[in-house]
Protein backbone atom coordinates (compact mmCIF):
# COMPACT_ATOMS: atom_id res chain seq x y z
CA UNK A 1 0.00 0.00 0.00
CA UNK A 2 2.70 2.37 1.03
CA UNK A 3 4.70 1.38 -1.98
CA UNK A 4 1.77 1.96 -4.23
CA UNK A 5 1.12 5.32 -2.65
CA UNK A 6 4.72 6.32 -3.11
CA UNK A 7 4.96 5.28 -6.71
CA UNK A 8 1.65 6.61 -7.87
CA UNK A 9 2.17 9.92 -6.19
CA UNK A 10 5.66 10.00 -7.66
CA UNK A 11 4.32 9.47 -11.13
CA UNK A 12 1.64 12.04 -10.60
CA UNK A 13 4.16 14.49 -9.25
CA UNK A 14 6.13 14.40 -12.44
CA UNK A 15 3.21 14.34 -14.81
CA UNK A 16 0.49 16.53 -13.49
CA UNK A 17 0.17 19.83 -15.21
CA UNK A 18 -0.80 21.81 -12.21
CA UNK A 19 2.25 22.79 -10.33
CA UNK A 20 0.58 23.02 -6.98
CA UNK A 21 -0.83 19.58 -7.32
CA UNK A 22 2.58 18.34 -8.31
CA UNK A 23 3.92 19.68 -5.07
CA UNK A 24 1.18 17.98 -3.10
CA UNK A 25 1.80 14.70 -4.85
CA UNK A 26 5.45 15.05 -4.08
CA UNK A 27 4.50 15.52 -0.48
CA UNK A 28 2.50 12.33 -0.53
CA UNK A 29 5.27 10.46 -2.16
CA UNK A 30 7.70 11.61 0.46
CA UNK A 31 5.34 10.65 3.20
CA UNK A 32 5.02 7.27 1.61
CA UNK A 33 8.74 6.86 1.80
CA UNK A 34 8.71 7.91 5.40
CA UNK A 35 6.10 5.27 5.94
CA UNK A 36 8.37 2.70 4.40
CA UNK A 37 11.11 3.76 6.76
CA UNK A 38 8.76 3.33 9.65
CA UNK A 39 7.77 -0.01 8.39
CA UNK A 40 11.41 -1.02 8.24
CA UNK A 41 11.68 0.15 11.84
CA UNK A 42 14.00 2.99 11.15
CA UNK A 43 11.95 5.36 13.17
CA UNK A 44 14.55 8.01 13.47
CA UNK A 45 15.12 8.22 9.77
CA UNK A 46 11.44 8.33 9.18
CA UNK A 47 11.19 11.18 11.61
CA UNK A 48 14.00 13.07 9.96
CA UNK A 49 12.41 12.44 6.62
CA UNK A 50 9.14 13.89 7.73
CA UNK A 51 10.70 16.85 9.48
CA UNK A 52 13.19 17.86 6.83
CA UNK A 53 11.32 16.99 3.71
CA UNK A 54 7.76 17.40 4.57
CA UNK A 55 8.31 20.18 6.97
CA UNK A 56 11.22 21.89 5.25
CA UNK A 57 11.80 21.28 1.63
CA UNK A 58 8.23 20.89 0.51
CA UNK A 59 7.25 24.01 2.29
CA UNK A 60 10.14 25.80 0.71
CA UNK A 61 9.06 24.56 -2.65
CA UNK A 62 5.54 25.58 -2.12
CA UNK A 63 6.64 29.01 -1.03
CA UNK A 64 8.76 29.43 -4.05
CA UNK A 65 5.88 28.33 -6.19
CA UNK A 66 3.82 31.05 -4.66
CA UNK A 67 6.64 33.47 -5.21
CA UNK A 68 7.11 32.72 -8.85
CA UNK A 69 3.76 31.62 -10.15
CA UNK A 70 0.10 32.02 -9.90
CA UNK A 71 -1.30 28.83 -8.46
CA UNK A 72 -3.54 26.89 -10.74
CA UNK A 73 -1.81 28.01 -13.88
CA UNK A 74 -1.21 25.07 -16.17
CA UNK A 75 2.33 24.08 -16.81
CA UNK A 76 3.49 24.24 -20.44
CA UNK A 77 3.53 20.87 -22.08
CA UNK A 78 6.72 19.28 -23.15
CA UNK A 79 7.15 18.15 -26.75
CA UNK A 80 5.88 14.62 -27.24
CA UNK A 81 9.14 13.52 -28.84
CA UNK A 82 11.00 14.64 -25.80
CA UNK A 83 8.52 12.87 -23.59
CA UNK A 84 8.87 9.73 -25.60
CA UNK A 85 12.65 9.76 -25.51
CA UNK A 86 12.73 10.63 -21.87
CA UNK A 87 10.33 7.81 -21.13
CA UNK A 88 12.36 5.39 -23.21
CA UNK A 89 15.63 6.41 -21.59
CA UNK A 90 14.19 6.23 -18.13
CA UNK A 91 12.50 2.95 -18.76
CA UNK A 92 15.53 1.28 -20.30
CA UNK A 93 17.62 2.55 -17.41
CA UNK A 94 15.10 1.12 -15.04
CA UNK A 95 15.00 -2.19 -16.87
CA UNK A 96 18.75 -2.44 -16.89
CA UNK A 97 19.05 -1.62 -13.25
CA UNK A 98 16.34 -4.04 -12.23
CA UNK A 99 17.88 -6.74 -14.37
CA UNK A 100 21.20 -6.32 -12.63
CA UNK A 101 19.61 -6.11 -9.22
CA UNK A 102 17.58 -9.23 -9.74
CA UNK A 103 20.46 -11.17 -11.19
CA UNK A 104 22.69 -10.22 -8.35
CA UNK A 105 22.62 -12.51 -5.37
CA UNK A 106 23.08 -10.30 -2.37
CA UNK A 107 24.96 -11.73 0.51
CA UNK A 108 23.97 -10.57 3.92
CA UNK A 109 26.27 -10.25 6.85
CA UNK A 110 25.96 -12.68 9.67
CA UNK A 111 27.13 -10.32 12.34
CA UNK A 112 24.65 -9.20 14.91
CA UNK A 113 22.76 -6.14 13.96
CA UNK A 114 22.88 -2.79 15.63
CA UNK A 115 19.71 -1.26 16.77
CA UNK A 116 19.10 1.94 14.83
CA UNK A 117 17.89 3.72 17.91
CA UNK A 118 18.17 7.42 18.37
CA UNK A 119 20.73 6.88 21.03
CA UNK A 120 22.95 4.76 18.87
CA UNK A 121 22.71 7.16 16.03
CA UNK A 122 23.41 10.11 18.23
CA UNK A 123 26.43 8.49 19.82
CA UNK A 124 28.06 7.57 16.59
CA UNK A 125 27.17 10.86 15.06
CA UNK A 126 29.40 12.65 17.45
CA UNK A 127 32.05 10.02 17.91
CA UNK A 128 35.50 10.61 16.54
CA UNK A 129 36.51 6.97 16.80
CA UNK A 130 36.11 4.33 14.13
CA UNK A 131 32.49 4.14 13.13
CA UNK A 132 31.95 7.70 14.29
CA UNK A 133 30.60 10.40 12.11
CA UNK A 134 31.78 13.60 13.74
CA UNK A 135 33.73 14.73 10.74
CA UNK A 136 30.91 14.37 8.21
CA UNK A 137 28.75 16.17 10.65
CA UNK A 138 31.14 19.10 10.69
CA UNK A 139 31.39 19.06 6.95
CA UNK A 140 27.68 19.19 6.56
CA UNK A 141 27.43 22.04 8.97
CA UNK A 142 29.94 24.03 7.00
CA UNK A 143 28.04 23.17 3.86
CA UNK A 144 24.83 24.42 5.34
CA UNK A 145 26.57 27.56 6.43
CA UNK A 146 27.94 28.13 2.97
CA UNK A 147 24.58 27.41 1.43
CA UNK A 148 23.04 29.96 3.71
CA UNK A 149 25.56 32.60 2.80
CA UNK A 150 25.04 31.82 -0.86
CA UNK A 151 21.29 32.00 -0.57
CA UNK A 152 21.45 35.27 1.22
CA UNK A 153 23.65 36.86 -1.39
CA UNK A 154 21.68 35.57 -4.30
CA UNK A 155 18.19 35.90 -3.10
CA UNK A 156 18.45 39.14 -1.21
CA UNK A 157 19.94 41.25 -3.89
CA UNK A 158 18.69 44.72 -4.17
CA UNK A 159 19.88 45.86 -7.55
CA UNK A 160 17.39 45.77 -10.35
CA UNK A 161 18.07 43.71 -13.39
CA UNK A 162 20.07 45.64 -15.89
CA UNK A 163 20.53 43.20 -18.65
Amino acid sequence: MLALLTLVSGVMAVTTRQIFRAAIFLLFSLIGIAGLFFWMRYDFIAAVQVVVYVGGITVLIIFSIFLTQQAGELLPKQKPARQLFAGLAAFSGFALTMLQLLQHSFTATRESSVEPSVENIGMSMLSVETGGYALPFEVVSILLLAAMVGCIVIALRSKPVTI
Binding site: M1, A3, G10, V11, A13, V14, I19, A22, A23, S29, I33, L36, F37, M40, R41, Y42, F44, I45, V48, Q49, V52, Y53, I57, L60, I61, L67, T68, L75, P76, Q78, R82, A86, A89, A90, F91, F94, M98, L101, F106, T107, A108, T109, E111, S112, S113, V114, P116, N120, I121, M125, Y133, V140, L144, A147, G150, C151, I154, A155, R157, V161
Partner: protein, 104 residues
Amino acid sequence: MMEPGLYHILFISAALFFIGMYGFFTRRNLITMLMSIELILNSVNLNFIAFNKYLWPHKLDGVFFSIFVIAIAAAEAAVAIAIIINLYRSHQSIDVETAEELKY
Protein backbone atom coordinates in the same frame (compact mmCIF):
# COMPACT_ATOMS: atom_id res chain seq x y z
CA MET B 1 -0.13 -9.08 0.33
CA MET B 2 2.96 -11.06 0.97
CA GLU B 3 5.75 -9.90 3.17
CA PRO B 4 7.75 -7.35 1.22
CA GLY B 5 11.44 -8.22 1.00
CA LEU B 6 14.58 -6.53 -0.17
CA TYR B 7 13.78 -6.84 -3.85
CA HIS B 8 10.44 -5.16 -3.43
CA ILE B 9 11.98 -2.20 -1.77
CA LEU B 10 14.65 -2.11 -4.42
CA PHE B 11 11.98 -2.20 -7.06
CA ILE B 12 10.24 0.74 -5.50
CA SER B 13 13.40 2.75 -5.15
CA ALA B 14 14.58 2.02 -8.68
CA ALA B 15 11.20 2.91 -10.03
CA LEU B 16 11.14 6.10 -8.05
CA PHE B 17 14.62 6.92 -9.24
CA PHE B 18 13.69 6.68 -12.87
CA ILE B 19 10.38 8.37 -12.34
CA GLY B 20 12.40 11.23 -10.98
CA MET B 21 14.61 11.09 -14.02
CA TYR B 22 11.65 11.16 -16.31
CA GLY B 23 10.32 14.13 -14.50
CA PHE B 24 13.63 15.87 -14.72
CA PHE B 25 13.73 15.33 -18.43
CA THR B 26 10.23 16.40 -19.20
CA ARG B 27 9.18 19.12 -16.80
CA ARG B 28 9.80 22.56 -18.07
CA ASN B 29 9.20 24.29 -14.83
CA LEU B 30 12.40 24.66 -12.84
CA ILE B 31 10.66 24.01 -9.55
CA THR B 32 9.15 20.81 -10.73
CA MET B 33 12.54 19.79 -12.00
CA LEU B 34 13.82 20.39 -8.53
CA MET B 35 11.01 18.25 -7.22
CA SER B 36 12.09 15.46 -9.54
CA ILE B 37 15.52 15.70 -8.04
CA GLU B 38 14.06 15.29 -4.62
CA LEU B 39 12.38 12.12 -5.78
CA ILE B 40 15.69 10.82 -7.04
CA LEU B 41 17.41 11.56 -3.78
CA ASN B 42 14.64 9.89 -1.86
CA SER B 43 14.87 6.76 -3.87
CA VAL B 44 18.55 6.65 -2.98
CA ASN B 45 17.67 7.00 0.67
CA LEU B 46 15.30 4.14 0.35
CA ASN B 47 18.05 2.07 -1.16
CA PHE B 48 20.46 2.81 1.63
CA ILE B 49 18.02 2.01 4.30
CA ALA B 50 16.90 -1.17 2.61
CA PHE B 51 20.44 -2.40 2.15
CA ASN B 52 21.28 -1.50 5.69
CA LYS B 53 18.32 -3.32 7.03
CA TYR B 54 18.34 -6.46 4.97
CA LEU B 55 21.98 -7.01 4.25
CA TRP B 56 24.31 -5.13 6.50
CA PRO B 57 22.55 -4.49 9.77
CA HIS B 58 25.75 -4.72 11.80
CA LYS B 59 26.70 -1.15 11.09
CA LEU B 60 24.76 1.97 10.53
CA ASP B 61 26.51 3.14 7.37
CA GLY B 62 23.38 3.21 5.30
CA VAL B 63 21.43 5.04 7.93
CA PHE B 64 24.01 7.73 8.26
CA PHE B 65 24.33 8.01 4.59
CA SER B 66 20.67 8.68 4.23
CA ILE B 67 20.70 11.18 7.04
CA PHE B 68 23.43 13.12 5.35
CA VAL B 69 21.75 12.83 1.99
CA ILE B 70 18.69 14.40 3.48
CA ALA B 71 20.79 17.21 4.86
CA ILE B 72 22.54 17.74 1.57
CA ALA B 73 19.22 17.64 -0.25
CA ALA B 74 18.01 20.42 1.96
CA ALA B 75 21.06 22.56 1.33
CA GLU B 76 20.91 21.90 -2.33
CA ALA B 77 17.25 22.69 -2.51
CA ALA B 78 17.81 25.91 -0.66
CA VAL B 79 20.52 27.11 -2.99
CA ALA B 80 18.65 25.90 -6.02
CA ILE B 81 15.55 27.75 -5.00
CA ALA B 82 17.54 30.87 -4.36
CA ILE B 83 19.00 30.61 -7.81
CA ILE B 84 15.63 29.90 -9.33
CA ILE B 85 14.12 32.89 -7.67
CA ASN B 86 16.92 35.01 -8.89
CA LEU B 87 16.44 33.63 -12.34
CA TYR B 88 12.79 34.38 -12.11
CA ARG B 89 13.61 37.97 -11.30
CA SER B 90 15.81 38.38 -14.29
CA HIS B 91 13.84 36.31 -16.77
CA GLN B 92 10.37 36.81 -15.38
CA SER B 93 9.77 33.12 -15.79
CA ILE B 94 10.90 29.86 -14.40
CA ASP B 95 10.47 27.92 -17.58
CA VAL B 96 13.71 26.15 -18.27
CA GLU B 97 13.50 26.93 -21.93
CA THR B 98 13.57 30.65 -21.43
CA ALA B 99 17.07 30.30 -20.14
CA GLU B 100 18.83 28.92 -23.13
CA GLU B 101 20.96 31.81 -24.11
CA LEU B 102 24.15 29.90 -23.56
CA LYS B 103 24.58 27.28 -26.16
CA TYR B 104 26.66 25.85 -28.98
